[in-house]
């Protein structure tokens, strides 16, 4: 199988699995236990916390482990929101949150839920290439604005947002800035201190770590209302027995990413460029997202006269795993909110295909894929009554 869906999830790296393995059946202590097995587990967890922190130049005590990117996003938005909600309500005001129209559902749905219970949310437009304009964001800020959440890079079209500039705007107006870095964590360099980020979400399974673990970076001094109540784990912000093996794996994945980020991202970028160049030679095909400011491994195409799902399934039959958009929305019939936000007509959104490259992607896989896409798009277009 040629796996070209690394934005959906990645295989656990060999080294990561090896690092995790002792923590299932041998060093299985509960990190809250005072005895040696417990303290051994705690030590492993704190070492992992250091590896995770290091990747983004954070301090270890600024890392809160969670069950994944979705929980991190929910915790950031709800945690910041509910920290001020009671006070605002007493003063008869609605806390205001700014985000963009192309965020992951973990952000968008959380914001919509908050709107339902008394928050105000501004969903910023993006341009044709998926860019948020920091000036627009600044214009949207009002006295009641408590938080802005703009993703680092979009999971569907790969566009990288100007989060440094956005963070500056937020700091200037004393607005908290959260970024969903699930797609960039370990793939692009991130320095939370230099960038001035207050909250940042990441997920283990997107960077060759295990599923079911992630983290939220919480800058020291930023206060969040806890979202999981219980034994007071993770400084009381996120209770629940810690997933030690998962956390250790996440830590190891961060270490590996530190090591190969630069080389790997330029390798992926080259492969992606070749893929895009060759595929766009086909008539009636376009690239979605920004031509250059995009995730190194992300290519997102629109092909006229065909349905993305059919193309995906035909590629699957040929041993190529691709996506029509984000993995989470395959069950829904609604057109992608991201493609719609960058101005694609509804009929165009149906013909999209996302290919996301990763560590095991080789040049010959790309060649094979180019050929397969050409043939399958051709075959599907032949079936179509609209193509003449």
């Amino acid at each position: 199988m040629i796996y070209l869906d690394h934005a959906a999830t990645t295989p656990v790296a060999k080294e990561v699995l090896k690092a995790m393995e002792p923590y299932f059946s041998q060093m299985y202590g509960n990190a809250s236990s005072l005895h040696s097995p417990g303290q051994e587990a705690r030590k492993a967890m704190e070492e992992a916390r250091e590896s995770v922190a290091k990747l983004i130049n954070a301090d270890p005590d600024e890392i809160v482990f969670t069950s994944g990117g979705t929980e991190s996003d929910n915790l950031a938005i709800n945690g910041a929101g509910f920290h001020v909600f009671a006070r605002f309500r007493k003063e008869g005001k609605k806390p205001h949150i700014i985000t963009s129209r192309i965020e992951h559902p973990a952000i968008l749905e959380t914001c919509r839920h908050l709107e339902g219970i008394g928050f105000e949310v501004t969903y910023l437009k993006v341009d044709k290439e998926g860019m948020v304009d920091p000036k627009e964001l600044e214009k949207a800020i009002k006295k009641t604005t408590i938080l802005a959440s703009i993703m680092h890079a979009n999971n569907e079209i790969g566009t990288i947002e100007p989060i440094g500039e956005i963070a500056k705007v937020c700091r200037k107006h004393l607005v908290l800035f959260h970024t969903d870095a699930v797609q960039t964590f370990g793939k692009l360099p991130i320095d939370v201190k230099k960038l001035g980020i207050d909250l940042l979400s990441a997920s283990g399974h997107k960077l060759y770590g295990p599923k079911g673990v992630g983290c939220l970076y919480v800058r020291r001094g930023v206060k969040l209302a806890p979202q999981a109540h219980g034994g007071g784990h993770e400084k009381g912000i996120r209770s629940g027995t810690e997933n030690i093996a998962g956390i250790v794996g996440f830590g190891k994945a961060c270490e590996l990413a530190m090591g190969d980020m630069k080389k790997e991202s330029s390798r992926l970028e080259n492969l992606r460029k070749r893929l895009v160049r060759e595929v766009l030679k086909m008539p009636n095909s376009r690239l979605n997202g920004h031509p250059t400011k995009r995730l190194p491994g992300n290519a997102n195409f629109t092909f006229d006269f065909i349905e993305g799902e059919s193309l995906l399934l035909r590629l699957d039959s040929r041993g190529i795993a691709a996506s029509t958009g984000s993995a989470c929305s395959t069950k829904k019939l609604a057109p992608s909110h991201v493609l719609t936000a960058i101005g694609l007509k509804v009929e165009e959104t149906h013909g999209s295909l996302r290919l996301t490259l990763g560590r095991q992607t080789k040049g010959k896989d790309i060649d094979f894929t180019i050929k397969a896409i050409r043939e399958e798009v051709e075959a599907l277009r032949k079936m179509s009554p609209l193509k003449r």
Binding site: E307, R314, V346, M383, P385
Partner: protein
């Protein structure tokens, strides 16, 4: 092989659709669906002695749409026009070993497309259109699904 979302039968028809392609000088054509909503299906029929002697389709759509079109042509071929009109979306989905709930509308489109092709045949031949069929056509026109 079955796919997690689709039955084995759906995948078979999707991978190797039966009666695929345009028909030259058909006796009737049914055009259903629109690109905004997703799927577009065209069904071509050739009628001999009140029977569907030949049938072909062109579909732009998902696997369920392509498979529904394909199984429809199999089921309709050889049937009398009266019999063919009675092919229901449920019947199609059943023959396909079921469809996921969000994809059931594909089988509806396919059944409608055949009905439209037969309607078109009656119209071209200036034959009286059965009452039920006329009504069905009017509804589809109204909803903007027939073209």
């Amino acid at each position: 092989m079955a796919n997690g979302l689709y039955s084995e039968r759906v995948m078979k028809h999707f991978r190797k659709p039966h009666n695929l392609g345009k028909m030259k000088d058909p006796d009737g054509v049914g055009k259903i669906g629109n690109r905004r909503c997703g799927d577009v299906m065209w069904i071509y029929i050739r009628v001999k002695a009140n029977r569907i002697a030949d049938i072909r389709f062109q579909t732009l759509g998902c696997a369920a749409a392509i498979a529904s079109s394909s199984i429809l042509t199999d089921m309709a071929k050889g049937k009398s026009l009266e019999g063919a009109i009675k092919i229901t979306s449920k019947g199609l989905a059943g023959e396909l070993g079921g469809l996921p709930p969000v994809k059931l509308h594909c089988s509806v489109l396919a059944a409608d497309a055949l009905a439209e092709a037969i309607y078109d045949y009656y119209k071209r031949r200036k034959k009286p259109v059965p009452k039920g069929l006329q009504k069905r056509h009017d509804t589809l026109k109204e909803r903007g699904e027939s073209h």
